[in-house]
Subunit: 264 residues, 2 copies
Amino acid sequence: MNNSPNVVDLKVLKQACKNCGLSDLCLPLGVSAEELEALERIIDRKRPLQRNEHLYVAGDRMTSLYAVRSGSVKTYTVTNDGQEQITGFHLPGELLGLDAINGGLHPCSAKALETTSICEMPFEALEEVSQRIPALQHQLFRIMSREIQADEHFMMLLGKKSSDARLAFFLLSLSTRLGARGFSHKEFYLTMSRNDIANYLGLAVETVSRLFTRFQNAGIVHVRRKLVTIERLEPLRQIAGVHRIQERCQPENQDLPPLQPPLI
Amino acid sequence: MNNSPNVVDLKVLKQACKNCGLSDLCLPLGVSAEELEALERIIDRKRPLQRNEHLYVAGDRMTSLYAVRSGSVKTYTVTNDGQEQITGFHLPGELLGLDAINGGLHPCSAKALETTSICEMPFEALEEVSQRIPALQHQLFRIMSREIQADEHFMMLLGKKSSDARLAFFLLSLSTRLGARGFSHKEFYLTMSRNDIANYLGLAVETVSRLFTRFQNAGIVHVRRKLVTIERLEPLRQIAGVHRIQERCQPENQDLPPLQPPLI
DNA sequence: CGTATGATTGACATATTTCAAGGTCTGTGG
DNA sequence: CCACAGACCTTGAAATATGTCAATCATACG
């Protein structure tokens, strides 16, 4: 079935891009069938990570990029005053390690939030292959560009948006990304703790907790521990002040009471 | 002197990468002399922009990346509730437009803060050339990676740091970047307004203004309108809680009064 | 089951924003 | 060259969103 010359491990090859449901989210987008083979040859599938296991830690030499196949990963740095700062949560189909190309060392650590399987792509090989396959090079540029764009968007969130807008955005982002991966848009498990969410969004845990209760009392979401159900999408969008990227900006955030003010 | 076949405009060619003092900050880093020629052939130098002139506006089709040659540029989006959000200030040697590769449209607008000259690099040509020149491809990956890394760092600033840390970081960042470009580390003009700074740092103008006075009263910087003089670097670093990237993290932020508390 | 960890809730503290006023440049046109 | 207008910046006082501290509660896990 697979005529690759270097059959090291059947399990590895079975999981290659061709048969991966994520291929349209991940690298192979826009890469032809033959080109895919060249790509597959360099991609390795690591043993799955257990919850809390590290994929790499800050300071590690960067040798590969990684794609999440299933599960989820958080990346974080430790600031010099010793506190953790989460830089991102990564879902299936998303790439990890792009921030390390520049310096050759990982500036962040990456830790599995649940049992997670990962594809490893040795970076030098990836560069070499993308040297031969324009579509792959282009795709890599696109992926990095998308990351930059997302970061800019997130900077706006942190710089200008209130706590409720941040949480709403966070939930919508998860919903959209999980939806794109074939999971439910409406109902999902949070694989990260409230602490992680707060940390990521630049808020205190208590604030996040209060917001969940407020959202729930307002009938917008239902939250039971880690399980989130989005009940009404539109209000959530309003709260997030969604900024549907790539759309002409018309003031859409007209009225709507500010989420039942303090909601005493 | 230049044997390029398509001599359209002498002025353009005179300004090519080879003679550009910024080449070690900009694309050509790590590109050999011959390779440089191929690169130069596609780089165009636009007429300088006047203050407040746009290089592109959000929604424009992306055709080129741009490098700042001299002057400075701000990039910003307008959120759907109509307020501007500045996503970055760009100094000589820095690239613009990386966030647009993904969608093909510029998600931000770019506006000159002063008279500014720009190199234009048609993106398709750039991709094609970097297909042939591994070092250029690598350099592009690195530049995008660096951008991602910087964004992550900035996210931490916005999410976790106090207003004084933000302004201190901002001043240090300008100082470092200007220094790398041959300008003074210690004394420079702010080409952006207080409003722009506040907007960028996620603060109110008034807060920025007060912080400048506080820093000045503490003898850390001297500020007279747009002219900033850094008097004492270390305290500024302490306030910023510098996170010297790529260094082993040891708590270095020990004591030092929190900038003469409220400084009544 | 009991313990530990994470989540929630309340009361209080505070950094930063908002509102309001006044001050200071800078460029323009007389 | 001067006067003026408008933008920009600074400062103070009051308001507020969010953080901090502390206690309780729920859940998961050994």
